[in-house]
């Protein structure tokens, strides 16, 4: 019994912790499928977390916070677009720069607004996303195994958790079922084909980058208004990079992205419960080792020990018209 309860608790945290990864991972998917590398997911999440935490605290409304988060993230996305699409700058360097910019700006603004050493005030009530209890939770609870699983793992999350999960089929449909998706995928594979077909490469890529901004906005807002109750310095703690790793792991496919993010979320959940890991493995595992696990796994994935990842062919290169 004790083990099953622990497992449920870990799976519950898995879902919570996977959500920002999933938003950011799908965000990266749109950008990279359109041929724009984005290692600035981290910065966009961070600035969105700050903006949403701050605005939610000031207005007392989580929805205003969410909007502000998306807007802030969009601003960084737009800069990335200008640098890498219009001015054909180095996309990796632009991403690095924006991550630093976000890291500094968030503290400056939070300090200016609240004077609490770069954090935003603790949120409560309507300023946070509350937990949603799904229908039938109590009815099903007595059912063995499935009941507690439904009640403790599936039910009882913030709205954004379910939104993130819904974004997976939505992304899949947009990518493979619509005109927009066809053009988006084409522009990441061969922008020349899109251009000569009379579709603007620039506009497609900007659209993709802005979608990335919106989804990162969700990721950041979730961090500050649902996962935690407010913004803290560097609160994203490398999640943008883990999301990037999940994207590679998933080979730029939406459904695989879901599984990759759940896996990495699971590792993060494990790191929170070293006691459970110790019980199961019967040896003491140092906490830093658990912390490092997602990164180590990502390196193994990148090394091709777990399948080969082939990125979109035109990724990372600015489009220059040529005959």
């Amino acid at each position: 019994m004790g083990f099953y309860a622990d497992l449920l608790q870990i799976l519950d945290s898995t879902l919570r912790l996977s959500t920002p990864l999933l938003f950011a991972c799908l965000a990266g998917l749109f950008s990279e499928r359109a041929g724009i590398f984005d290692i600035g997911l981290e910065g966009k999440m961070l600035i969105a977390a700050m903006a949403s935490g701050a605005v939610a605290a000031l207005t007392g409304t989580v929805w205003m916070g969410l909007g502000a988060g998306i807007l802030a993230s969009l601003c960084l996305a737009a800069i990335h677009g200008v640098a890498s699409i219009t001015f054909r700058g180095n996309q990796l360097i632009s991403g690095v720069a924006l991550n630093f910019l976000a890291s500094g700006i968030t503290v400056l603004v939070a300090q200016r607004l609240f004077g609490q050493g770069g954090r935003t005030p603790a949120l409560s009530g309507d300023a946070r996303f509350g937990e949603i209890v799904l229908p039938l939770t109590e009815t099903l609870r007595p059912v063995p195994v499935i009941g507690p699983f439904y009640a403790d793992v599936i039910s009882g999350h913030a709205l954004l958790v379910y939104v993130a999960l819904l974004c997976v089929p939505l992304t899949w449909w947009v990518l493979f079922g619509t005109r927009f998706g066809l053009r988006l995928r084409a522009v990441g594979e061969n922008p020349g084909a899109v251009d000569t077909a009379g579709v603007s490469v620039i506009r497609m890529r900007y659209t993709a980058v802005l979608i990335t901004g919106i989804l990162c906005g969700f990721a950041g807002a979730y961090m500050a208004t649902a996962l935690q109750a407010g913004f803290g310095k560097e609160m994203t703690a490398g999640r943008g990079y883990i999301a990037l790793a999940a994207l590679i792991f998933a080979k730029w496919r939406p459904w695989a992205a879901l599984w990759a993010c759940l896996l990495f979320g699971f590792f993060q959940a494990l790191a929170l419960r070293p006691d459970v890991v110790e019980n199961v493995l019967t040896v003491k595992v140092p906490v830093p080792a658990l912390d490092a696990l997602p990164y180590v796994l990502t390196v193994l994935v990148l090394a091709g020990f777990v399948g080969k990842a082939i990125p979109p062919r035109a990724g990372g290169e600015a489009y220059v018209k040529e005959r």
Partner: protein, 513 residues
């Protein structure tokens, strides 16, 4: 009553910085004809057509389509004006299906499924009408080059193009595929479409066009009716003076065997076999020309011999076997064996475009003790001096060793590569497409140098897709098709037709008859 021409260009000019790519171009293309545009590389043909397709904006001039002045700021506008274009390098998404590629940019609505269904039907009709059969569900990367080209034509027709522009369409095709293409183009003409064919091959112009315009150094020098002209006249118009298609040379005096290749097999990164067990040899003092349509294994052959990629089989140079596994050898060890290599793609292999000329003059030979001041430091000043001397001897203009490679013209870049590779008097010279993108004056210079090297008793392996070049330089000709050598011919006893059949994979004396 004369109808309005399909295309009329008036006073089109376009400059890239100080380079005038097009100056004051006037052109009339009559409706329902096949109109050729011919000129050397760099004559401005492609720039002109790119302006017509909205890729570049002209600095001055006017475009009329069907008698109406139109502005073509982008490809969308060109498509609306009824212009379709088949680029030299296909604009296809490699991992999309034929259907997806055709539909891309011309979808009917926000949802994909109805568009694809409609396109499938239309495509079947077009395929029937114009001999343009392709499986609509095949992925592009699985298709042959000829079929990919059909997809490009289908794309244009699907967009209801009345005017079809093809840029060097036969460069990657076998003669048989080219013939099929020409049948398609004639079919289009019969349906009232207008075709503009850009090429530098006189034979094609004579075979299929109704009228031909000749471009030279950014200017339109003449437009003539094909039936009233001759290849000689067109060639003269193209280059501005009489050209020597034949190179003066004495008969070869072959000596000992320098290169022996036996059962050489090469697979590419995807595991596809590109060279399928070929054998040949070259003796000192002779040039073996390898003819073939691009992409039939010639590039891989050069790369293997140059030590860039691994292979299986046996290769002996001066009687000693060389390592083909790539584990104990590379470009450095090949050079130490007296093999020099002028690569097909000088901009991506032969030169570092951002390096200065003097740095490029030692590229690949940078470990030579002569270039070192001591065990650690290179003798940069000495290298600059030597580079300058070499550049002067090879007539590189300007002979300034501190200029970056990218600031030289194509011909002068090639001369820098040749200066580096030829002046070391190698036993074996590998040379690929020596005159691609090189102006006519430099071609003569380069050809003479290759003959001189042969006459100095060196072995030369020449790979070229230009049959003229192969015929005029080689002492023996081998034709490659699909990774195999289809046959060897004596240049004095063969002709373009026979070689063309071999290039198309039709083997043997019997089949040629």
């Amino acid at each position: 009553m004369t109808t309005n021409p399909a295309i009329e260009l008036r006073g089109i000019s376009k400059a890239f910085g100080p380079v005038q790519a097009n100056s004051d171009i006037n052109l009339r293309v009559e409706r329902g004809t096949i109109h050729g545009i011919i000129g050397e590389n760099g004559a401005g043909k492609s720039t002109l057509m790119s302006i017509l397709y909205g890729f570049y904006k002209a600095d001055a001039g006017e475009i009329l389509i069907g008698g109406q002045p139109v502005a073509i700021p982008d490809s969308q506008a060109a498509i609306r004006a009824g212009i379709g274009m088949v680029f030299q390098h296909f604009k296809l998404v490699q991992n999309f299906t034929v259907l997806e590629n055709v539909v891309l940019g011309a979808e009917d609505g926000a949802l994909l499924r109805p568009s694809l269904a409609k396109a499938r039907k239309l495509l079947a009709d077009l395929a029937r009408d114009y001999e343009l059969e392709v499986d609509p569900d095949e992925v592009i990367e699985e298709l042959s080059v000829g079929h990919q080209q059909r997809v490009e034509i289908l794309k244009a027709l699907y967009r209801q193009a009345d005017i079809l522009i093809l840029d060097e369409p036969t460069g990657v095709l076998t003669p048989a595929e080219a013939d099929h293409l020409f049948r398609i183009l004639r079919g289009l003409k019969e349906q009232g479409k207008t075709v503009v064919l850009i090429t530098h091959k006189l034979r094609e112009i004579m075979e299929i066009t109704d009228a031909v315009s000749v471009m030279r150094r950014g200017e339109m020098v003449a437009t003539v009716t094909t039936a009233e002209t001759s290849p000689e006249q067109l060639a003269e118009l193209m280059v501005g003076r009489k050209v020597l298609l034949r190179v003066d040379k004495t008969p070869a005096v072959p000596g000992r065997t320098v290169l022996e290749v036996e059962n050489l097999r090469v697979s590419d990164a995807d595991g596809v076999e590109r060279v399928k067990g070929i054998s040949f040899s070259i003796r000192a003092g002779e040039i073996l020309g390898i003819a073939g349509v691009a992409g039939n294994g010639q590039s891989q052959l050069l790369e293997v011999l140059g030590g860039i990629s691994p292979a299986t089989g046996t290769v002996r140079v001066n009687g000693d076997a060389i390592d083909l596994s790539g584990r104990h050898s590379n470009g450095q060890t090949r050079r130490a064996r007296g093999i020099a290599h002028v690569p097909e793609d000088r901009q991506h292999l032969g030169l570092i475009m951002d390096f200065m000329a003097w740095e490029n003059v030692i590229f690949g030979y940078h470990n030579d003790p002569a270039y070192q001041k001591n065990r650690l430091i290179m003798d940069n000043a000495g290298i600059v001096r030597e580079a300058q001397a070499k550049m002067k001897r090879f007539d590189v203009r300007p002979p300034i060793p501190t200029l970056q490679a990218k600031s030289f013209s194509g011909g002068n870049q090639q001369k820098i590569v040749l200066a580096r590779e030829l002046e070391r008097a190698p036993d074996l010279l590998l040379v690929g497409q020596p005159t691609r993108g090189v102006d006519i004056g430099a071609i003569e210079f380069i050809h003479q140098r290759l003959i001189e090297l042969r006459d100095a008793g060196k072995a030369v392996l020449l790979v070229s897709v230009e049959l003229d070049e192969i015929l005029s330089l080689s002492d023996r000709i081998a034709v490659m098709f699909d990774g195999r050598i289809m046959g060897e011919r004596d240049p004095a006893a063969t002709n373009e037709r026979e070689l063309g059949l071999l290039m198309a994979g039709i083997a043997g004396e019997g089949a040629a008859a």
